[in-house]
């Protein structure tokens, strides 16, 4: 190729072709993102168009009803709140303690390897399988009250637990060893070094992961379907053992109604749910940006 002439018309044409293909490829990438995002925009637009008209105080404070015009979401929202409370109270301490153990104390043994494999796999198990577990264990074996926030929260806690462990481990791993060494050097015990110094520094990261895990649990429907949280419930639950519904389940139940008037209710409930999720994710991002320390 030594006699190649870069100024020949053939070479110029070839270079032009290659540049054109470069531009096409770049446009293709941009197009892929644009297409994905336009799908999201379409989804949001349709929900807003159908649902905004139905968002008023009566809708936010009412409970489920067979009449679309008086049906509201407070009952389901309260059920979601109670369920999330149970989930958080169980999965957060368990997840954080587990992450601390695996990252800071665990000896290299076959048992610990099993724990790690379990956690990685649990994070990828389909959510409906957790529903089957909840049905078989909490309802059929332990006879806990069906369709209650207690059982729903327990089931979702098992699902959220691995998410918190994985994000917790990453947050703890990100704390530099010099922090531990400094604490140990001035006479702190290993437990003191971890709980007084490493954990506070890792906490923003752990909280971010927890909020993201909770947001996922809040939007989850399939496992709750398994444990019977699909009953028609007119009175908001008073406690964690009362039968109740949750927001995504209310959306599912309304979407099944034949009455066209429920389209507005369903879309309005979706808007409420999405607002909650956006808020939670927003808080998570804020926490991450505000407290994240670059070592």
């Amino acid at each position: 190729m030594s006699n190649h002439n870069w100024n020949s018309p053939e070479a110029a044409k070839r270079i032009a072709q290659r540049h054109a293909s470069e531009r096409r490829f770049k446009l293709l990438g941009l197009g892929a993102i644009a297409l994905s995002l336009s799908f999201l925009a379409l989804l949001l637009f349709i929900m807003l168009r159908n649902g905004l008209g139905g968002l008023d105080w009566a809708f936010l404070s009412g409970s489920d009803s067979t009449n679309a015009s008086v049906a509201g979401i407070w009952g389901a929202a309260k059920g979601s709140l109670l369920t999330m409370l149970v989930t958080l109270l169980l999965s957060f301490p368990m997840g954080v303690l587990s992450a601390i153990y695996l990252e800071e104390f665990a000896p290299r043994s076959r048992w610990i390897e099993w724990v790690e494999v379990s956690i990685n796999n649990l994070a990828a198990v389909p959510s409906i399988i957790f529903g089957l577990l909840g049905l078989a264990v909490f309802i059929n074996t332990l006879h806990l009250p069906r369709s209650s926030p207690l059982v729903g929260g327990l089931t979702l806690a098992l699902m959220t637990f691995p998410v918190i462990v994985i994000s917790g481990r990453n947050a703890i791993k990100a704390v530099p060893p010099s922090i531990r060494d400094a604490a140990l050097a001035v006479g702190a015990s290993k437990v003191q070094a971890v709980f007084h110094h490493v954990l506070p520094l890792a906490l923003p990261g752990i909280l971010t992961g927890t909020i993201i895990g909770m947001a996922r649990a809040l939007g989850e429907t399939a496992p709750l379907l398994m444990i019977g949280m699909r009953a028609f419930i007119v009175t908001p639950p008073g406690g964690i053992t009362d039968p109740s519904s949750v927001l995504p389940m209310q959306i599912f139940l309304w979407s099944d109604e034949i009455d066209k008037a429920f389209v507005q209710n369903t879309s309005a409930a979706i808007i409420v749910l999405l607002v909650f999720l956006l808020l939670m994710n927003g808080i998570a991002i804020y926490l991450r940006n505000k407290f994240e320390v670059r070592w």
Binding site: H19, S98, S118, I128, A136, F161, A222
Partner: protein, 457 residues
Amino acid sequence: MILTAVLLAVLGLSLVGWFAARGRARLLYKGRASMHSMPAYHGWHMALWIFVPALLCWVVWSAIMPGLVDGAVMADPVAASLPADEMQRSAILAEAKAIAHDPFAVAFNPQARNLAEPIKAAETRFGFIGALLVLIAALAGGGYGFTRIRAGFPARNRVEQGVMALLLAASLMAILTTFGIVASLVFEAGLFFKDVSPIAFLTGTHWSPASTMGDNINDNFGAVPLFWGTIYIGAIIAMVVAIPLGLMSAIYLTQYASSTVRKWLKPMLEILAGVPTVVYGYFAALTVAPMIRDFAASLGVPNPSTESALAAGLVMGVMIIPFVSSMADDALAAVPRAMSDGSLALGATRSETIKKVLLPAALPGIVAGIMLAVSRAIGETMIVVMAAGAAARLSANPLSSMTTVTYQIVQMLTGDQEFNSPKTLSAFALGLVLFIVTLILNIIALRVVKRFREAYE
């Protein structure tokens, strides 16, 4: 009720114990190095000694109390008139318990009302005994803890041992959950396979569990159409949408976009992954499915159905895009920079570098990411429940309605039928298959990712 109250009381006692022990330990302080542990550790040591024995006692009592109550009620003269049949008796007992807790509960058996009083009495009595036992355990533990407070007592080491035990217990939770999943699925599926042969289940092509009255029950539980529907929707249609879009998005974001653009586009793309599946399902049923039906009608398809595999698969694909994109992102980032720099230095354009160097080098990571995406898609439930339909058929026509494993699990378990029928149990058998398949996909994918990372390190 009283048991919940006593648990709160124990918590209060622990708090009191904490302050009492710390106060006493402070009195022992006689200057530097006069004590082994700081006073607060004596407080923790005391609080643990109050709380842990009481909690153990509480758990044990809560587990055995229902049995004790039943026994006491059965011994009551009112219970003598109950029917001897085990099923009827437990039904009446359940109703009586509901009345005992809520006087306005409805009962279909007149006997239940008479039983409510003895049940209430027995529950109060045993609740009281239990509360007493728990309190005794708390006080005994606290008493022991209090006698330990001495200057030389290694309270910190003891507390730290307790903390370690707690940490270990928390991490065993993961194994327990996995074990729980496997045990419950295998157990219930085992009951199902007692009635239906596994071979017929895995290879039969006729699925109509509603008609269990047929001559041979094996003929009604052929799950192949469900497997096909699952693969067709989750692994074919959804991936046809998700792989090109996700991969191209990742390439654009990592190779072309400026950091400002990436900072905005990436979170927006991730919103797609954060939208709950029930919202996607509703969107599929409300908007996408009618669009596809109209499109099919305009093509001249006779009687297109509203529920179609295409609608469900399409929406599922969109849901998976950010997942594929972030996995591809990781895989591309793991390729050493020297490789693409070398290609660019030789005069290749960016797109040529991506196609000929980056993608082949990142291929194992991308394939593993796609496997994880498939495992997520086939386990997805709400979209197919709301948009794919109930018809179990072996068809390659994307416009026809099709059913999946997850759809059938929901279908089998949400009706009003007795729990131990083959119909309900089949849901656990399907769940077991789903669990095993996703597990295998995940394990292989994680292995590949790990090996792939090591190859470039």
